[in-house]
Each structure stands twice: as structure tokens, then as C-alpha cells.
Symmetry: C2
Subunit: 202 residues, 2 copies
């Protein structure tokens, strides 16, 4: 059972190493990843050994093999999809970002209760009525949801997502969701992020 912090670091390394590959690089050393990541070279080597990769001190890691290994470990595949629930200011900003970055894990559907938004394509993603959640989530093999509805709607929307078959929620609404413990919930809050930066800014 890999700790959350290790998974977060591996996700970050994958992005860093992918950018190096896109720049034409074929090999990478842990100190090069460290310079960008903030993790120590030793921590990076430990994490990569945990997914079965030990580079050589002289030659580092072969980027192609390393990337493949991290991808497989993370289970990152185009087959899995995400959806976004609540296509307001934050929801649309997130859709635009995913559209611009074109990541492996794509947002395959959006849901909203506003009839002015349903049936419209935003940044390449169709907005469905929230009432269609279960069928769309099943048809498109969506496993995770990004929740960006108003705070007073969040608990109900989360419940609806769970009934529809979602297995994980990235929650931006400023409320603690009361959800079955086998559903993975990650809460994100930009106010808390700013407070952290303020603490370390002296």
C-alpha cells in the first residue's frame, strides 16, 4: 500500500521526466529530477526503486523505460476518465486548463443543473444534465469526479456521484463530504495554499 506522499511525488516525477523526453533527452539522473522537484536525489532514487527502477550511477535512468514504468505503476491510461460537476467559474477554468494541457487522464464529461449550460460544449467537453450522471459515467468509464458546485450543493452532488458509480472525488467545495469510506476523497483549498505560502514567506 503506497503512501499518498509517495504517489504524489511519482506523479510529479512523471511530469518532469516527460518534459525532458519532449525536449529530446534520453537519459536522466536523480539530481536532475531533484533540481526541479524539490525532493532530494536520495528520496527520488528510493521512490523509483519502489516502482522497480534502479538507475546506474554512471548512466542514470533510461527515460523511455522509466516513464513506462511510472505510467504502469500509476495505472495511467487513456481508458480511465474524469468528469467535472458544476460548470461555473472554477469548473470552466479547469476545463480550459485540461483542454490546453491535453493530459493522459481526460475530462470526458461535464454535468450541471443549469439548463442554459447543458447541451453546450465547453473547451471540447459536452455538458450533460446532472440527471444523466449515472448513464454517462457508466458509458464513458469515468472513475473520478472533480466537484466544483456551490458549497450548499456539494454533499448532495457527491452523493449523486457515488450512486452513479464514481470511485474518487477531487473536492473544491469548502465543506467536508460525508461519503462511504471506500470512496477516495481529496479536498483542495486555495485559501489554505495561500496561508501555507504566507507562513514560509519571510
Amino acid at each position: 500500500k503506497t503512501p499518498q506522499k509517495t504517489v504524489e511525488r511519482l506523479i510529479q516525477y512523471r511530469r518532469i521526466v516527460q518534459q525532458m523526453r519532449d525536449a529530446g533527452q534520453e537519459k536522466v539522473f536523480s539530481h536532475q529530477i531533484a533540481r526541479v522537484s524539490g525532493a532530494s536525489p536520495a528520496q527520488i532514487r528510493r521512490d523509483l526503486m519502489g516502482v522497480g527502477y534502479s538507475g546506474s550511477p554512471a548512466h542514470g535512468y533510461i527515460i523511455h523505460d522509466l516513464l513506462q514504468g511510472i505510467y504502469e505503476f500509476l495505472g495511467l491510461t487513456e481508458k480511465k476518465g474524469a468528469c467535472i460537476v458544476g460548470l461555473g467559474s472554477l469548473g470552466r477554468a479547469i476545463l480550459g486548463y485540461f483542454h490546453e494541457q491535453n493530459p493522459v487522464l481526460k475530462i470526458k464529461a461535464a454535468f450541471d443543473t443549469d439548463p442554459a449550460k447543458t447541451g453546450i460544449v465547453f473547451h471540447g467537453t459536452l455538458c450533460h444534465p446532472a440527471s444523466d450522471m449515472a448513464s454517462v459515467i457508466r458509458d464513458k468509464e469515468i472513475t473520478v469526479a472533480i466537484l466544483t458546485v456551490p458549497v450548499e450543493q456539494a454533499q448532495q452532488a457527491a452523493q449523486q456521484l457515488v450512486y452513479a458509480g464514481i470511485r474518487g472525488i477531487l473536492n473544491y467545495a469548502p465543506v467536508v463530504l460525508d461519503i462511504r469510506p471506500d470512496i477516495f476523497v481529496e479536498n483542495r483549498d486555495m485559501i489554505q495554499a495561500v496561508e501555507k505560502v504566507a507562513y514560509f514567506s519571510k
Copy 2:
């Protein structure tokens, strides 16, 4: 020198305990914070002891004193301010959120290069031309910046913020900033957050 993870947890506890106080609660036990936070009661007690608070097993913590202690430790004060640079889709969503939540640490100014946006008040915050950055940051005692400009502008905007006297940056642009090491930079990426949720959603 408090570790980043400890500071993040204290910031989260503060929010949780504040909500209990707003609901009229006067005392709190570590297991109550644990239920909401996800951290273990033992971890919570260790963290709170680190800021000088040991509750009593019978009576828990006095919320008023605990909150005051965490506030002081975090250095959370209305005197410090944040600014936001780049008032596009994401920037405006963040401004709206801060306006709605009214946190202790407020966004005191926004900056943009688009003349159609400067001089306008968005969600209670005035948008200044980016050229006014140094004077506004100094006048309003702004110490941290939220960076939400297009990726190709991020390095230059970050440099400009550092010259203007900013001490910390919360960066949403998908690029690694090349900044003096004494400036605290926190990178946030929603794609990586979704990948993390996908990994743990089985």
C-alpha cells in the same frame, strides 16, 4: 524550522476548529479533529503540542485558546496581504472564492496587462496595471502572490513580482519558475491532483 507537512496540517486544523467555534462549540478533542482531518488523533496531539498546546484527556482543548495559539504560530494576521497576477478565468474564479469565504489573509490587489481589465473592481478587488506592481505591493504590505498568467508569461511575471518585493508565490502556471532560492514557491497543478485521486480510486 517546522516541516511543510506540519504547517499544512496546522492550517487545516485551524479551519476545522474555527468551524466548530462558529457552530458554538467551546471544547474539542483530538479525535473530533481527526474524524474531519484524516490525520490520526496522535498526530494531531503531537502537532498541537508543537505549538504549545497539550489538551487534557478528560476535557480536550479549549477552542478559544487553541485557535489563538494556532493563529499566532502561523503568523496569520489581517496585516499581511496577497495579490493575484493574471485575472483570466482561473484568476477571477479564485478572486470570487476569496470574496465569498472572506479569509483572514485577503487578496488586496490584482494585476493584469490587459487594459480592458485594469481599473475594474472584480469581486471587491481592484485590478491594477502590472506596471504598478512595485508601488502597490509596497503600499498595501503584500507579501505573497498568486500567479495565474499564461504559461509563456509566468517566468517574467514571477521575476517582476520578486523585484516588486514579494516573498512567496503560489504558482498555478504549468512551468517550473527559476527564482532566487530565498523566495518560497509553491506549485499547484489540478491535473496532478486528479491523477492522484485516480490512483487511489479502485
